[in-house]
C-alpha cells in the first residue's frame, strides 16, 4: 500500500483520467485528516454542512501555518477568497451588472449571440475528418462570450490565455515541482493581467460601451463603486472564471456523451432533456473537482470529527456528487435524473457567480455539437488531461468521423 496521503494520490497526474475510485476511498474515511494536518471531506452531507457554515472561511489568511497560506499578498483577494461581509459587498456590486434583481436580462440577452457563435464554430469544422474539440470549439466558445459580455477585445485573448494558464497552474500542489516558482509566476501574471484590465477599464471610463466593464465603472448605485484595486481583481476573476471552467464543462460533457452513445442518441431525439442533462454533467463530471481554500475560523465538528481552527480544509465536490447516500445509482450517468442538487456550482454564499451563463453556454454548445456532428468517435480514450486536479478536464479531445456532415443545414 502506498505511503502517500489520499490527497497526494488524488493530485498525482496519473489519477487525472479517473479520480473517482479515490473519491470512493475518501468517502469511506469520512472526514479524513492528512499527514500534513489538512483535512479532506468527500461525503455529500458533510460537504453541504461545511459549505453553509458561517464559521468556515474562504480566506486563506486565516490559516495558522503561514506556509500553507501560499498566496502572495500583492493584490487584494477577489470575492471568492474573502468572507462576509466583505465578500457579500464585492459580489453584490459585481452582480448588479450581471443578474437579478438589477440586471435580470443580461444573460438572456446573450442567448442568440451564443447560438450564433456555436453555429459559426461548428460550420468551421465542415469537411474536416478530425477535430480537437477543445481547441476548435470548447475553448473559443466561452472565450468569445466572456469577451463580449465584459468588453475585452477579442484580439487580446491570447495574452489573457497565457496569464490564465500561469495563474491556474499555481493552484496545483504537485510535490515534485518547485511551488515557489509557480507561485511567483502566478503573482506576476496576476499583476500583468490586473494592469491590462485596469487600462481597459480606464478606456471605458472615458468612452463607455454596452458591456459589463462600462457598467461597473459607471455604476451610480447607492453603495458606490468598486475601488480601483477591487475593480481589477474582480475583473481578473470574472475573466478567468468566466471561461476556464466552462471549457472543461463542455469538453467533459462531450467526452461523457461520446462514451455513452445511447445517452447521446437520446439527447438528439429528446432535445428538451438538455437542461437536465447539463445538470447531470455538473454532478457527474464537474469542472471544479474540489475547493482547496477553506479554513475553519474555530474548531468545527462535522461527521463526528472536530476539524481544528486554522487548518487547510479541502471540500471534494466531485466526490460529494457521487455519494450513494445522497444520489441513487450515483456512478450512473442519467441525463433525466431528478432531485439532482449537485455541487457542480458549489453551494452557499460562494456558489458559482456565473452559473446561469455556464448553464446556458453548455446547453447551447452541446446542442450545436449533437446536431452538427455525424457519428463522432473518440480517437483516444482516455484523452490527455490538463495538469490541474482542481479544474479538471481534457487538454485535447480528438474526435473523428463525418464530423460536420450535418452542420449549418
Amino acid at each position: 500500500m502506498s505511503t502517500e496521503t489520499l490527497l497526494e494520490r488524488i493530485n498525482a497526474y496519473a489519477s487525472r483520467p479517473d479520480p473517482y475510485p479515490l473519491y470512493t476511498e475518501l468517502r469511506e474515511h469520512g472526514v479524513a485528516r492528512q499527514d500534513d494536518g489538512s483535512y479532506l471531506v468527500g461525503t455529500y452531507h458533510e460537504i453541504a454542512a461545511l459549505l453553509h457554515d458561517p464559521r468556515i472561511s474562504s480566506d486563506v489568511r486565516h490559516r495558522t501555518h503561514p506556509d500553507l497560506r501560499d498566496r502572495p499578498e500583492d493584490l487584494p483577494p477577489s470575492f471568492i477568497a474573502v468572507d462576509d461581509p466583505e465578500h457579500d459587498r464585492l459580489r453584490r456590486l459585481a452582480m448588479r451588472h450581471f443578474g437579478p434583481p438589477h440586471s435580470p436580462g443580461r444573460i438572456d440577452a446573450l442567448h442568440d449571440d451564443i447560438v450564433d457563435v456555436a453555429r459559426e464554430l461548428v460550420d468551421g469544422l465542415r469537411g474536416r475528418d478530425r477535430i480537437d474539440l477543445v481547441d476548435d470549439f470548447a475553448y473559443p466558445l466561452p472565450v468569445t462570450v466572456i469577451c463580449r459580455l465584459l468588453g475585452v477585445p477579442r484580439e487580446d485573448m491570447p495574452e489573457i490565455r497565457g496569464w490564465t494558464n500561469t495563474i491556474i497552474a499555481s493552484l496545483d500542489r504537485s510535490p515534485d515541482e518547485d511551488p515557489d516558482g509557480r507561485l511567483r509566476a502566478a503573482a506576476q501574471a496576476r499583476v500583468s493581467m490586473a494592469g491590462y484590465l485596469g487600462a481597459l477599464a480606464q478606456r471605458r471610463r472615458e468612452r463607455p460601451a454596452d458591456d459589463m466593464i462600462s457598467a461597473l465603472v459607471h455604476d451610480d448605485g447607492p453603495e458606490g463603486r468598486l475601488t480601483e484595486p477591487e475593480l481589477t481583481t474582480t475583473l481578473t476573476l470574472l475573466t478567468i472564471a468566466g471561461h476556464e471552467t466552462t471549457v472543461n464543462l463542455i469538453t467533459n460533457g462531450m467526452l461523457t456523451l461520446l462514451r455513452r452513445p445511447e445517452a447521446l442518441e437520446r439527447l438528439r431525439r429528446e432535445p428538451e432533456l438538455m437542461p437536465s442533462a447539463v445538470e447531470e454533467l455538473l454532478r457527474y463530471e464537474p469542472p471544479v473537482q474540489m475547493l482547496p481554500q477553506r479554513t475553519p475560523l474555530t474548531d468545527v465538528e462535522v461527521g463526528g470529527v472536530t476539524i481544528p481552527q486554522g487548518v487547510p480544509l479541502f471540500l471534494v465536490l466531485a466526490s460529494g456528487n457521487r455519494d450513494p447516500l445522497r444520489f441513487e445509482d450515483a456512478d450512473h450517468f442519467d441525463p433525466a435524473r431528478r432531485d439532482n442538487q449537485h455541487f457542480g456550482f458549489g453551494s452557499g454564499v460562494h456558489n458559482c457567480f456565473g452559473a446561469p451563463l455556464a448553464r446556458l453556454e453548455t446547453q447551447v454548445a452541446l446542442t450545436a455539437l449533437l446536431h452538427g456532428l455525424d457519428a463522432p468517435h473518440l480517437v483516444e480514450d482516455p484523452p490527455p488531461y490538463r495538469h490541474s486536479p482542481i479544474l479538471r478536464g481534457p487538454r485535447h479531445l480528438l474526435v473523428t468521423g463525418d464530423v460536420a456532415a450535418g452542420a449549418g443545414a
Binding site: H52, P85, D88, G348, N351
Partner: protein
Amino acid sequence: MSDDLKSGRIVIVGASLAGLRAAETLRDEGFTGDLTLVGDEPHPPYDRPPLSKQVLLGRVPAADVGLPARRPVDARWKLGVRASGLDPATKEVLLRNGERLPFDRLLIATGTRARPWPHPEEARLDGVLTVRTVDDAHRLAERLDAGPRRVLVIGAGFTGSEIASACRERGLAVTVAERGPAPLVGALGGTLGAFAARLQRAHGVDLRCGVTVTSLTGDAGRLTGAELSDGSRIDADVAVVALGAVRNTEWLADTGLAAGPRGVACDAGCRAFDMYGIVTDDVFVAGDVARFPHPLFEYQMLALEHWGNAVEQAEVAAHNMVNPGPRRRPHLAVPAFWSSQFGLNIKSVGVPTFSDQVTVAQGSVEEGRLVVVYGYRGRITAAVSVNRAKWLEHYRHLIETAAPFPPEPGAADRPASPKVVPSDVPDPRVLSHGPTVALTGHLPDRRLAVVRPMA
C-alpha cells in the same frame, strides 16, 4: 390494495397552489382515476406572492400571475363554484350550485380569505379594499395608478407592510396603523419589529403603532379617511384592510370533522381528524387551511400561511392518498417563508414565535444585513435573515437537530459582542393583523380548542 389506491375518484376542494400541486403529484405517483378540482374563484390556479409586490408596482399585470403547470393533470375543473358542504356518510362534496361530487378520497385545500373590515357599512365605502385574490390586487393596482393623495394601510403584518412598501416605491403618501408595538412584531418579535419600524419610517411611511382604527369615514359612499383610537384623524382616498386571514372552514361546519376557525386538524400524514380526535382515512388536508402537529415544536398543531408549506404539504398529502400505510410519509418540513419590502429580502426558517430569546448571529442591525437566531429553552427554533438568505440553510440544519441556543461563535461576520435578548413575541391578540404562523395547541378537537375571537 395498492392498485386500488391508484384508481377511483379523488376530489380536491381548493384550486390554488396546494390544490394544483396535489393534483400534479397524484398523477406523478400514478393515479389514473377520476380527478376533480373545485375552486370558488373563476381563475385557474395562480401565484399569490406577487399580488402584494410586483402587481402593485405595475411590473406584472394581475392577469399574468398564473402558476406554471409542472405536468398535465387530466382533471375536471369546476371553477367559480363554491363547495357548500360535505356528506361524510355518502362520501359526497356538495356544491353551491346543487351538484354533488362523489369521491373515494377527498383533499381539503380551501385555504384562507382576507379578514374583512368588521363594520360592513364602512367596508362597503368606495376605496376600502383587501388584498387576497388576483381581482383584489388588480383593483388596488388601479387605485394606486389613479394617484390617491394618501393610502391608509390597516395592519402591519407582512401583507400590510409589503403594500406600504409598494405605495412608497410609487411615491404615494401612506399611513400604516398597527395596534401592536411595531410592524412584523407578531411574526418576528421585538428585535426585528423595531428594525422594521425604523425601516418603514426611513422610507417615508407615516407609521402609527399602538393605535387602532376606530372608524372609516365616508362622504356620499366614498372613503374620506379614518379615525384612530388616539383621537387623531387620517385623510385617505384608499384604505387597505390587512388584518390577516380567515380560514375557509365554514362549509365543513356540520360534517363531524375537526374543523374550526383555526383550520382543519390533521395528522402528520395530512389525514383529517374528526371532532373526537379520531383520524379519518379518506379525507386529507393541505395548505393554509391545515393544522398539523410538528415534532420540532413539541407536537403543537401548526397552522402556516406559507407558500412553501402549501407545496410540501400538498405533495405529502397526495403521496399518502395513493399509497398504502407503510409507504406513507410524514409532513416534517421546517417551515420557511420570505418577504420583500422596502428593498430588503426577509427570509425565515423555523417558527420565530416559538421562542423566548434571540441573538444577532451574523451581520448587524446597523448594516441592514443580518441573521437573527431564535431560541426556546436553550435550543434553536428559528432564524430570520435580512439580505442574507443564503446563510439560512446552516440554521435550518441547526433547527432540525435541536442545536443549542445561542449558536456557537466563530462566524466570520459575527457581531463583536452578540447579546442574547428576550424575543418579545407579543400575544397575537394585541395585534391588528392575524398571525401567519399560529401555534394552536395540541388538541385536534375543535370543541376543546380554545378559540378567542379578535376583540
